[in-house]
Symmetry: none
Subunit: 233 residues, 4 copies
Amino acid sequence: MSSSVSKHISPPSNAGVALVKRERRKEARPGELLDAALDLFVEKGFAATRSEEVAARAGVSKGTLFLYFPSKEELFKAVVRENISGRFQEWRRELENFEGGTADMLRYCLKVWWDRVGATKASGINKLIIGEARNFPDIAAFYQDEVIKPVQGLIRMILQRGVDRGEFHIADMDYALFSVMAPMIFLIMMKHSLGACVPQGYPIDPERYLTSQVDTLLHGLCLRPEDAPGDRR
Amino acid sequence: MSSSVSKHISPPSNAGVALVKRERRKEARPGELLDAALDLFVEKGFAATRSEEVAARAGVSKGTLFLYFPSKEELFKAVVRENISGRFQEWRRELENFEGGTADMLRYCLKVWWDRVGATKASGINKLIIGEARNFPDIAAFYQDEVIKPVQGLIRMILQRGVDRGEFHIADMDYALFSVMAPMIFLIMMKHSLGACVPQGYPIDPERYLTSQVDTLLHGLCLRPEDAPGDRR
Amino acid sequence: MSSSVSKHISPPSNAGVALVKRERRKEARPGELLDAALDLFVEKGFAATRSEEVAARAGVSKGTLFLYFPSKEELFKAVVRENISGRFQEWRRELENFEGGTADMLRYCLKVWWDRVGATKASGINKLIIGEARNFPDIAAFYQDEVIKPVQGLIRMILQRGVDRGEFHIADMDYALFSVMAPMIFLIMMKHSLGACVPQGYPIDPERYLTSQVDTLLHGLCLRPEDAPGDRR
Amino acid sequence: MSSSVSKHISPPSNAGVALVKRERRKEARPGELLDAALDLFVEKGFAATRSEEVAARAGVSKGTLFLYFPSKEELFKAVVRENISGRFQEWRRELENFEGGTADMLRYCLKVWWDRVGATKASGINKLIIGEARNFPDIAAFYQDEVIKPVQGLIRMILQRGVDRGEFHIADMDYALFSVMAPMIFLIMMKHSLGACVPQGYPIDPERYLTSQVDTLLHGLCLRPEDAPGDRR
DNA sequence: AATGAATGAGGGTTCATTCAT
DNA sequence: GATGAATGAACCCTCATTCAT
């Protein structure tokens, strides 16, 4: 066979590269599809995103999508799961070892969140969940368990540390949590929803925004402490 | 019409009642449709809501819906327009005439917002817009102009009053606004999205939540003012 | 190929076995595929059978199937051709040499049919053809020519022998043929269609069934010959 | 409105006709669709029949089909159910009241079956079931219960009457049943499968076929009773 | 005005077939 | 030869929209 000859004269590395290319593509496919799907789901919502569009953005044909995900709904669930990093352990360890004032710890916490989640595509999941939770109650429950609760645990840990070290005054821990989460939610809404629609582009500087929020959160707007309610001195 | 003749010979009271009922219903139709549409759009999003379902919930047939709104998209826009109260004028007047400390003014402002918007069905619009903004950029722009900006103006007015009267210390007015808006957004997300999915109902008391947020907002979490950044005395 | 070198240094017996195995498999491939295809076509019909399933049952990959058969339709035709034994010659010779009463000859004929066709997978072809004839008119015509007509010729020969030897009374030879064929068809339907669906297995014993049918065929249900129509003495 | 005028001058009967037409169509739709579906399923099988084709043959659009049947599979089941007349009661009563010899009774039975079932479109169901039973086990079970068993009961009743009145000699009742059913099955196969594929058209005269089969069934092919097995005198 | 039967474009999904490895 | 990832035409089914009544 002439092909056996050509095999011998063709550079082995070439064949190796071709093989690697093929295999790498196959392994990369699910990730590429999930990336494309995340973009589109965040942009248009689940129902308004067409399967073919996802495939096209990932550079494959419609049929290929269904080689990797049995249905659009499973694709959606996979997108959510994929973008919910189980990195809370690592994050928690970093924060547990934090040395310094708790105010700085809170600043650090939000900075890390922004760098690792907020600024990445994964933050779109949040907006996505808000739009689709009612249509995917099991995904919503999954998100509650895998994201909301761990994050709340982390924040609660920080706030409790502040209280324990005599740095913070917290009347109601359960609701104080929300004071930290609200700016995160707000920022994501800005990035992925309304903020993405104003023609002049993104009108908010996330880092400055978060800094500002944490300062307000820590010290409030009031100049005169005597306005404070309750037993604060 | 020959039918008007028959009306006259039927018992007047009977006919009158029927007529009034009918006419009232007829005039109420668009409102009933908008109400039904709001519920469903908020619950399931624009694309996942079926026109027929809207009609059914409003107690009319599919065809009737299209008698009042030329398309599903126009229905959507009408829902948004309808639920954006033009009552900012009234609200603004009330606040302009507010006498007393600005901290109380802020508390009052959020209380009024909750009573008139947050607690009503209209609050769903917010969640809806967040989910659909990218699909309806013109609606998003409209919402920016008609809702976001007026509300920001209102809040800015309050905060500026606090500064002018020496009550508030605000380093960055543009971002301080967001500190007031974030809890509103957060509460609406809880009410209409994730919070609506946890089976036991989300354990959040809106009034207590808002009170808590305003207190934190006003006085911060820190006990010792010396942690405060900048030129605060 | 460089791999052929490694073969030479590996133990010869080992390589020999592997080679033989491989080559035998290679030659067996089309047969294995046809077997698998017959099973599945009979079980589910042509359209509901997936090519990949056929390949999987034959232990090869989807692509290999198309190496041997250019299309699913050609596979179908090959399945039919393959399972239409050209053994009519042999069968005919056996019957031509049959000595003894024609009643026994008929019994023998059906017994041979059952042993060589009815009891084997090949019988499924009949059910398959019945289900698919309208979709494959050329196959149906082919089947008519290659199977129905030869079989009819065989049966006609037997019946004519009975008549010629004064054993049988046959008013209408063309339709008498069908009296012999109907039980064959019926048995195959039982085996491959409805009978395969009743959970406890269809309670029919083919040999007993055929014996019973032949007896009835030969002697009828009536006790009193005077009920017989026509010129029978 | 000019239309109100035309209403008054148009013949009332005309409006009535129009109304009736519309309503009649609506009520006729399911039947028209079932008819079309029966034709096509029998002709091409379940899988090879396209929904749109069924709709087109019924003179409606694709979507309309799904207004009446929730899926192609439900359509199939409805086709089967629709064409399995519960007229066994009536048939049974007729036969129970039959007076005369049981041989004639059997002839009458098959004649009635041909006229009311075999010659109608409903007979296609039989062929359809044979092709699709394995794909629709629940339909197969339903068919067993609703068709096979009642028909067997009817035939058994006739044969038993023959035995009781000393007219028939039946060694094995369970298998004698099949002797009567086999020609019915055979005829249907001819009509709807192979027989429908021979270009010169239907090569069998059903009435003559059935007469011939019943005669053979009753009296057998043998001239000399001494060939008979068993205790027959 | 109101109805709801009918439509048909659109989108999810399947699967025979191809082809680079 | 053998593989199985990729393709895309084809098909089922949905649902916004129309229109005769």
